[in-house]
Each structure stands twice: as C-alpha cells, then as structure tokens.
C-alpha cells in the first residue's frame, strides 16, 4: 500500500447558549443563582470599566489602553473557572479577566497612566503582570504549568493570547513544550477576529486556531467565546484536564467590538455592517436574555447591579487620580536588581541631584 492515512484529527466546537439566549439544557454548567449572577455582574463591570477608560483616555487622563469590549464572556468565564491556586497569565487586553480575578480597578488605571504600581503583583497572588510583546506570555504559562507538573502541584495555569499571537513562534514552542513536559497549562486563544487590522483569514490558512494544538501533540477545542456558559464549561473542563498533566488549547471565537487600542481606528479596515452583525451576538445581551428567561434577573436587579458598578468605578477613578501624585521618579532604580550595583547607585544619586537642581 503506497499511501495510507497516518493520523486523523478533529476539532470540536461547543456552544451552550445560542445567539438568542436559548440554552442547551443538557450542557448548562451546574452553577448556583448567585454564581450565575456573578458572571453577569462581572461582565457588566468590565464593559463599563472599558467604556469609562476609553473616555478617560480621550480626555488625556490615562494613556493608551486595549479595551476588551465584546470579549467579556470569554474573559469573565475563564477567570471565574480559575481557583485561587491556579495561575492566570494575561496578555494586554484582559481587563475583564483581571477584574473578575479581584484586581482593584484603580490598579488597571494606574498601569494605563504609565505607573508600574498598577502591575505590582501582591505577594502570594497567582496572576502575572501584563505582557505587551505579542505571544511571549504563552511560554510563561507553559513554564508555570511545567513547574506545577514538576512539583506535583494540584493547580493549573491559564494563559490568554490572541489569534495574532498564534502566528508567533513562541506560541508553537509553548504548545509543543507544554506537551513534552506534561505542563498543567490551558492555552486560551481569544480569537477576536483581528490582529490590529489583519483579519483571521489573513492571519492563517488554518481553518481553526484550535487545530494548531495538533502540531504540538496536545488537545484543541473550539468554543463560542460570546457564550459565557459554554466558555465556563469548556475552560473548567480544560483546567481539570490540565491539572492531570494534559495541556490543552481552547480557541474561543469572539469579536473585538472596539478598537485594537485607543490609538487605532477600526473604520479603516472593517465595515459598519460587520460590526452591527457582531453587536447582535453581544455576549452580555445574550446572557441577560437567558437570565431573565430563567427568572434569575429582572429590571430591578439590573438597575441595582448597574448602580453598584457605577459606585465602584467612581471610587476607583478617584483613587487612580490620587495615585498619580504618588509617583516617585527615583523608584525606577529600585526594582532593576535585588541589590543595586554600584554603577546604578551612582546613576540614581546623580538623578536625585539633578532632580533637586531642577526643583
């Protein structure tokens, strides 16, 4: 036989809530009413945070940000699925995931104001600082997961990256090495359809991003990333699998409704029709319809949640503004090394002298 099939693969697609908010009852994850409401609350918090942050950027109060509007379901669901012991490894568009994980919103604003204080990782907290270099963090997530395997840690690491990052060599190296070392890693690709202006179909000829797992010998699965229940279910199962030493790539199909960053103008590369079409599939609206139909949510609760979100955000913005005055420029020397080498001490002293002269 000159030619026979050497291997065969398939990629599954999962959806629990359809676009009209109808759920497949067999697949709905087992969550309490409070947990269901938390998913909703966190999506609303994130949406409002990003809209306010864009406005603050437009007014010059904060620097460039990368909003996650439209991607709340995948981020909130994934961060909710994580235990405290699990690691979260973000890229740079994870406002919703950070907020869900309990990071104070004023810290995100500080980072956007150019203050490293915003990226400080509190002792014992298993969340990495943001990685601006595209795709580099996939390896950090793989390394964390490998460390968990080496130390028999009963936890996993979840790393966020985008469809654009899946073109980077680091992403492939991460899938491959995670597989080789039985890393406890879940690679979560938020396929939001665009890497700045380049649509997925120009990013790769692969039919799915999930199938990129196959080359690394790990599992790949696709989920509707605008379906918060589906993503929660798939990521929860993926984390369980990863904790057993079987890394997995989850591709969540979603859409970046806003700009790549506040320095970007999407009208140059996409149509209002396309944007309107995806607004129809909005993850929050869809989930709200479901919760209302289940009797978990009514107008009153929505109003309460919106009010809480507003109060929290006002306080965070106030806190962020106060923080701006707290920047001590000489601190840029403090965290380069554990112990400051003499040459750097000299530069710091020189810097301080110049600061005094200029005052």
């Amino acid at each position: 036989m000159p030619r026979e099939r050497a291997a065969e693969f398939t990629i599954d697609h999962v959806q629990v809530l359809d676009e009209s908010g109808e759920a497949d009852e067999d697949l709905v994850p087992n969550l309490s009413e409070e947990e269901l409401l938390d998913l909703y609350r966190n999506m609303k918090r994130a949406r409002r945070f990003d809209t306010r942050a864009i406005a603050l950027q437009r007014r010059g109060e904060i620097g460039t940000i990368a909003p996650a509007i439209g991607q709340e379901a995948v981020q909130v669901a994934s961060a909710t699925a994580l235990s405290e012991a699990d690691w979260m490894v973000p890229s740079f568009r994870e406002s919703a995931a950070y907020l869900t994980r309990g990071i104070d919103p004023h810290l995100l604003l500080w980072y956007a104001m150019g203050m490293e204080e915003g990226a400080e990782v509190p002792e014992g907290e298993h969340t990495m600082p943001p990685s601006i270099a595209v795709g580099a963090q996939t390896l950090h997530g793989a390394g964390l997961g490998w460390g968990q395997a080496i130390t028999d840690d009963d936890a996993a690491s979840l790393v966020f990256f985008g469809d654009g990052a899946s073109s980077e060599g680091d992403a492939y190296e991460a899938f491959n090495m995670a597989g080789v070392f039985d890393a406890h890693t879940v690679f979560l690709c938020q396929n939001n359809r665009y890497a700045i202006s380049v649509p997925t179909e120009n990013q790769t000829r692969a039919e799915t991003i999930a199938q990129k797992a196959i080359a690394g010998g790990i599992d790949g699965i696709q989920v509707d990333g605008n379906d918060v229940l589906g993503t929660y279910k798939v990521v929860t199962e993926a984390l369980e699998q990863a904790r057993q030493g079987n890394p997995i790539l989850v591709e969540a199909l979603t859409y970046r409704q806003s700009m790549h960053t506040t320095a970007d103008d999407p009208s140059v590369y996409r149509t209002p029709e396309e944007e309107a079409e995806w607004e129809e599939r909005d993850p929050i609206d869809r989930y709200e319809d479901y919760l209302r139909s289940e009797g978990v949510l009514d107008d009153e609760t929505v109003a309460e949640i919106e009010e809480d979100v507003e109060t929290e955000l006002e306080a965070a913005i106030e806190r962020a503004r106060e923080g701006e005055k707290e920047v001590v420029p000489a601190e840029m020397f403090d965290h380069v090394f554990d112990e400051l080498p003499q040459s750097l001490r000299k530069q710091r002293d020189e810097f301080r002298r110049e600061e005094v002269d200029h005052d």
Binding site: A142, W146, G147, D170, P341
Partner: protein
C-alpha cells in the same frame, strides 16, 4: 581541600552540588539529559537527579520563556543554551521578560534564572558557534553577566549565579573547557559578583581581560616589555569598576582586551568609565585590543580575527610607549 579539575568538570560538580543543595534547581536544555550536553557539562547528572534535569526540544526562545514561568512558580531554572550564538533566538524572552520580571512586578516577583552557554571562538566550530555577545547583555538592564576564566572561578561564579535572585547570563569560554586545569576548592565555593580578580600585580600598565582572553593576555604579558597588572573582572555586570580604576590610577595606562567586536563592546564602556573617573591619571589613551567589526569568520580566518598574545603585546607596548 582542593582538587585538580578542568572547567567542564568544575561546572559539572557545581551543578551537582547545587541540585543536591536545593531540589528546586532545575537543569534543562538541548541534549543535557541522557547525552550529558554536547560538551558533557551535565554528563551523568540525570542518573542522580532525574526529577531535576530534563532534555528540552530545540527551541531557544521556548527554553528561556519556560524558565520565566518556572521562576514565577518559585523554582530556580538553570537552562543551557547549546551555543551562545543561538541565544539570539531567545533574546526577546531574555530582554523583554527575564530581565524585566522584577521591575514589571515592582519587585514582588523575580527571575532567578541562570542561563548557561558556551561562548567565544577558537574551537574551529561552525558558523554561529563562536560569538561573544556580553556587551549586548550588558546593555540590557536587569541582567547580570558572569564570564569565568578558570575552573575555580567557574565553580565559584556558577554557584553564586544559581543562588543569585536575579537572572544571570553565564558565559563559558568554550576554548577553555578542557584546555586548562586548575585547583578547585572541594567544599562550597562562592565567588561574589562584582569582585574582580587581580590575576597579576604590576606597576607599568593595567590590562583588563576576561574569559578566554585572560589566558592569551597572560601569555602576552609574559613576553611584553612592561610590568603588567592583569585584572579579570569575572562578572561583566556588575563590573568591579573600583578595582580597575584604582589600578589605572596606579599605572596610568590601560589596555582592555576582548574577542567581541570593537564597536560598542565592553572595552568602550570600560574606557568611558576610566575617562569619567580617572582621566587625570592617564598617561596614554586607553588601548582596545578586540575582535573586528565583522561577523565572526568561519574557522579558516578565526585566528586572524581573535586577539592573540602578539596583538595584545603590541597593544600593551603602544600604551607604554605612548
């Protein structure tokens, strides 16, 4: 108590001792496991420490990037890159992540990774197997760089690197791996970073050299018509500037020797620091004896490229006769 070891043996025994001391020390890289490393630096270690030593796929960025994650998990990664000429594939992970994890997290996380790699030419190897890129790493805030030139220093600096809470680029002069043997302390031996070794004392001229160039410089000094004070900085970052400056203040003359290209090399940096702090003591311009600003040549020309005792001696004499 000391024992007679070459540099590879010193490195191997240090890796063994450090893995024994701390089971969080994880040694990994291409061919370091069963094969014991292409230079045999890790030979036999996998039998005794199977949970701490791993063969890694050929993926330099992956090897270093995984180390950032291991470090975040609280382990101490000691990856080997097979040749430092291939560390450029990992440079983004080194420069953007390993070196910045501490500052990015405001000092709440660190990256105690020691990246070992054979460095420098003189072994008639293939293209990309002979580079000496210490200046590139020195230009990267957040990294420390060790470049031993003797078996004892290899042991002392490697142990200090592995216990260093910051990322260390540990460059091993390939041509000295087996070429020199020396007395190495059998007990724990730590060479602190930032403390230069005054290899030879002298009155006429200060010569600064590290890695394989230390041996070439010693040979040159023996034949030069000058009383040479030879200083081996041992760590490029942090640099023991004081020892160099004190020596220059005494001798009034200086030659810096390295095999990396001349432009923007460490010799330029050392010269600038002498200008900053000891200009008025100088009786001659600081001489640089270095590789040329050309890609490291294939081996038919590597002897012409590399500073040898003859070129170093000329440099010394130029400075002395100025």
């Amino acid at each position: 108590m000391t024992e007679q070891l070459n540099m590879l043996e010193a490195i191997r025994s240090t890796l063994r001792a450090e893995m024994e001391r701390d089971d969080g020390v994880i040694v990994y890289g291409q061919d370091v496991g069963r094969n014991g490393g292409v230079f045999r630096a890790t030979q036999g270690l996998i039998d005794d420490y199977p949970g701490q030593i791993y063969d890694a796929p050929v993926a330099e960025s992956g090897i270093v990037g995984m180390g950032v994650g291991l470090a975040a998990h609280g382990l101490t990664p000691v990856p080997e890159i097979q040749f430092s000429g291939f560390m450029h594939q990992a440079f983004a992970q080194i420069q953007q992540h390993a070196a910045r994890l501490r500052s990015r997290s405001r000092g709440t996380m660190n990256c105690p990774m020691t990246i070992r790699a054979p460095s420098g030419g003189g072994i008639r190897a293939l293209e990309h197997h002979s580079e000496s890129f210490e200046a590139g790493y020195a230009h990267t805030p957040g990294l420390q760089i060790a470049y031993p030139s003797s078996p004892a220093d290899a042991k002392g600096l490697l142990a200090a690197s592995i216990r260093n809470p910051d990322p260390v680029i540990f460059l091993e002069p390939t041509r000295l791996y087996r070429a020199v043997s020396g007395e190495v302390p059998e007990e724990e031996h730590l060479v602190p970073f930032g403390e230069a070794n005054v290899v030879e004392e002298g009155e006429d001229i200060t010569v600064v050299a590290w890695g394989a160039m230390r041996r070439e410089t010693q040979r040159a000094a023996n034949n030069a018509d000058a009383d040479v004070e030879l200083i081996d900085p041992r760590t490029i970052v942090p640099l023991d500037e004081e020892t160099i400056l004190d020596s220059v203040r005494k001798t009034g003359r200086c030659v810096v020797v390295h095999e990396a290209p001349k432009t923007a090399g460490m010799a330029a940096e050392i010269t600038a620091r002498i200008n900053d702090e000891a200009l008025m003591y100088l009786e001659a311009p600081v001489e640089r004896v270095t590789g040329y600003d050309v890609p490291f040549p294939l081996y038919a020309r590597e002897e012409d490229y590399l500073p040898d005792p003859e070129r170093i001696r000329s440099g010394i004499e130029r400075a002395v006769e100025y």
